[in-house]
Amino acid sequence: MAHAITFSTREPHRAFRLSMLLNDSRYRSYTIQIFVLMCLMLGIAWLVDNTVRNLALLGKDFSFSFLWSTAGYDINQRLINYDTQMTHGRAALVGLLNTVVLAVLSCALATIIGVAAGVLRLSGNPIVARLMTVYVEVFRNIPLLLWILVFGAIMSEAVPAPNAFKGENATASMIFGAVAITNRGVFVPEPLFTRDLGTLNLGIIQPSLSVVAIVVVVILCWLVHRALVRHAERVQSQTGIRPVTWWKTITVLSGPPLLLLWALGFHLGYPELRGFNFQGGLQLRNALIAMWLGLGIYTGAFIAENVRAGILAISKGQSEAAHALGLRPGKTMRLVILPQALRVIVPPLISQYLNITKNTSLGLAVGYMDLRSTFGGITINQTGRELEGMLLLMLIYLSLSLTISGSMNVYNARVGLKER
């Protein structure tokens, strides 16, 4: 008789009543959304109206034309051509490049310190582990701004002046005769080319052709190396015997770049003390060093915790299983532990990179001329364009952040567990 019973899954049709807008879950979400939309539009309209009225009261207009007017201020660290006669837009670009350089340098330093401290904190050696715990706790619990100021003070107060390097009984000496740490900045050897290829004119920026050539060659070598490895893997999977590749790898990776360097006449220009200051070499200003150390060491403490958590997240069974398969410790680490630990470590690592990029805006504290100091500081003060300037500044930072977090999502999608 079972077939005689019929179920109706359709609800009985009821006439629409106004109260259903609030009480019926089918309609309620539309009510709420329309309400939110109205509030949102009212809020935006209110803000825009206020802004328009305020601008009118102040006699200002809303335009970005100030980007093309003469900046008139100097920027002490510049990676591309810049002088006081150039535009505010150009100054912003110089500042942006300074921000990016600082962010990249700090990310590298923070990663190195963080990975080392994270691994050492897990070591069985109690002295080293305790020391790393102290490092992590001290740096994590004190504001970054204070650390930046501390490193700034160290660079300006606690290191010798250039004239301490002078004379017979100098109180300070250069490290390996190549690096001078002074209170006017750190002087390091600079790469020079006797047969320079000149610069490539791309309009806004003029990169050195020699550097471009070196980068291109290195990338090409890397691609060839990748092809070699892939070929070796194919041979291994077909025959079971992996061809010997180490000498090919070394030749491919180091040969062409070294040849190119030799052809360009690569040599180092050492800093020398002339008069009251060092000449030649590359001057890394105190502000850059203070920001770099501050950001790198501070964020390193956070990365150390991420690395530690990542390694602890891999269960012991994984390494035991790898040993049972007969893998040596090195291969266990490379093929079993690391790929799994990286999946845990990399997302928070990238968000630390994001933090570093945003925290470069603290450069103002030690006078580092980053985007915030040049464009967000001097330009806005000179032109009185707070509204346009801040909007543009936020948009630039936002696009930097979204680029980094976008790359994180791509990575996550690639290494994420493919299950079900």
């Binding site: 609030l22 206020n50 009225r53 109690p126 001290v138 801040m390």
Partner: protein, 429 residues
């Protein structure tokens, strides 16, 4: 085989022998932990050298410290060329580092507010404290505002009366449906605050004057300012963050989009740009002629900033919760808010405790950034102390004092979160 064939049978146990010398104590530690391989040995030696070097370079500086002097030059005179810390600056200026330019005769007010804050936090943080104290936690914000800023007591009282009005409206209209009732209660409270609150305050103040000397925001600074901004930001960002996290996980596309845009925008820009927005741009966005307190603006911006981070942390907790929990709550017939309150949130918040406390710590440390918009936080005060002729050129003593206080606050927060994790741990893994 029986006993008879044996020549010797031991009848009593031998006393346990000492283990070999290299299996216990310091030798074992050295062999197995400190010098077990060349890398470990290298690290041990390197860290010992580092420790000795730090101790040797710091100890004369600390032990020769001068506690009573009126200026750095006097300090140097007392030291007579020897190395030593001039901690006299702390002794001379510690009140300034703690309170900024708060009138010295009124120092008892922020101190009392701080002590009362500890009392107010106790029932929230530690369950053995009687729950009845929670009413004090609710009253505390108004009391603290009155103590710190001064003015008439009737201002916070009438602000609280707004909540009472809202509650009464809610009670009266609850049969119209919960959504309508909440909306009406909200409108009632707003009406009270904007229309009735001002006159009522004036009348009550004339009838029964209860006021403290007013202190302006300009005079506040130091750790007082950091704690005011930090604690307000922390206590507001958690509920707002929960709402935003729920918004981001909502099935309503509009609500979800708004939440995502808000969160990603706030997380994508540095806090410093938001603070500059508060100090430079808020005048553009508000009706012409409005001008309100800079500290309040900063608190709003810091709260928005922390809210976005909090929302992401809580979203992580919500995502980590097994789907079965949501389904079980629905199967029990709980509606959305009841399910969130009774089933989802207690578990999701528990999972996210480390993240929540981390963002609290981050927020508290970020309060130092207000130095860039001209507020007198401890770092700004250290700069202004250094700018005086007496203490020109003094760095490390101030940094150590400020860093030490921040460390105490942040470290105790992180320890508390560990304690909380242990206390709430209900699984037996």
């Amino acid at each position: 085989m029986s006993d008879r064939n044996l020549t010797f049978v031991r009848r009593e146990m031998l006393p346990a022998r000492e283990p070999p010398t290299n299996h216990f104590g310091i030798v074992k530690l050295l062999r197995e932990k400190l010098f077990n391989n060349w890398l470990s040995a290298l690290l041990t030696v390197a860290s010992l050298i580092a420790l000795v070097w730090i101790a040797r370079s710091l100890s004369p500086w600390l032990f020769n410290s001068v506690w009573s002097a009126n200026s750095l030059s006097e300090c140097r005179q007392i030291l007579g060329g020897a190395e030593g810390a001039c901690l006299a600056v702390i002794r001379d200026r510690w009140t300034q580092l703690l309170f900024g330019f708060y009138p010295p005769a009124q120092y008892w007010r922020p101190v009392l507010a701080f002590v009362l804050m500890l009392v107010a936090m106790a029932p929230i943080l530690f369950p053995p404290v009687p729950r009845r104290l929670l009413w004090f936690s609710a009253v505390f914000p108004g009391l603290a505002y009155w103590l710190i800023w001064g003015g008439t007591l009737w201002l916070p009282v009438s602000a609280y009366a707004g909540f009472t009005v809202g509650g009464i409206v809610l009670r009266l209209t609850t049969r119209l449906g919960s959504g309508v009732a909440v909306g009406l209660a909200f409108a009632g409270a707003l009406a009270w605050w904007f229309l009735a609150s001002g006159p009522v305050t004036t009348v009550l103040e004339q009838l029964l004057p209860l006021s403290l000397p007013a202190v302006t925001s300009r005079e506040m600074g130091g750790f007082l300012l950091s704690i005011v901004i930090g604690v307000t930001g922390i206590s507001l960002s958690l509920p707002l963050g929960i709402v935003l996290a729920l918004g981001r996980r909502s099935t309503m596309p509009l609500v979800k989009t708004v939440s995502v845009v808000f969160i990603e925008f706030i997380r994508g820009v540095p806090l410093i740009t938001l603070l500059f927005t508060a100090s430079l741009l808020l005048n553009y966005f508000l009706p012409p002629g409005t001008n309100f307190d800079l500290i309040l603006r900063v608190i709003i911006m810091v709260t928005l900033f922390a809210t976005a981070y909090m929302a992401e942390v809580i979203r992580g907790g919500l995502a980590a919760l097994p789907r079965g929990q949501y389904e079980a709550a629905e199967a029990l017939g709980l509606d959305y808010w009841k399910a969130q309150r009774l089933v989802i949130m207690p578990q999701a918040l528990k999972i996210s405790i480390p993240g929540i406390v981390n963002s609290f710590i981050g927020l508290f440390k970020d309060t130092t950034l207000v130095v860039f918009i001209g507020l007198l936080d401890p770092i700004a005060l250290s700069n202004s102390i250094r700018a005086t002729t007496d203490w020109q050129g003094i760095y490390w003593e101030l940094f150590i004092f400020i860093g030490g206080l921040f460390f105490i606050f942040c470290f105790s927060m992180s320890r508390y979160s560990m304690h909380l994790e242990r206390r709430l741990k209900t699984d037996h893994r």
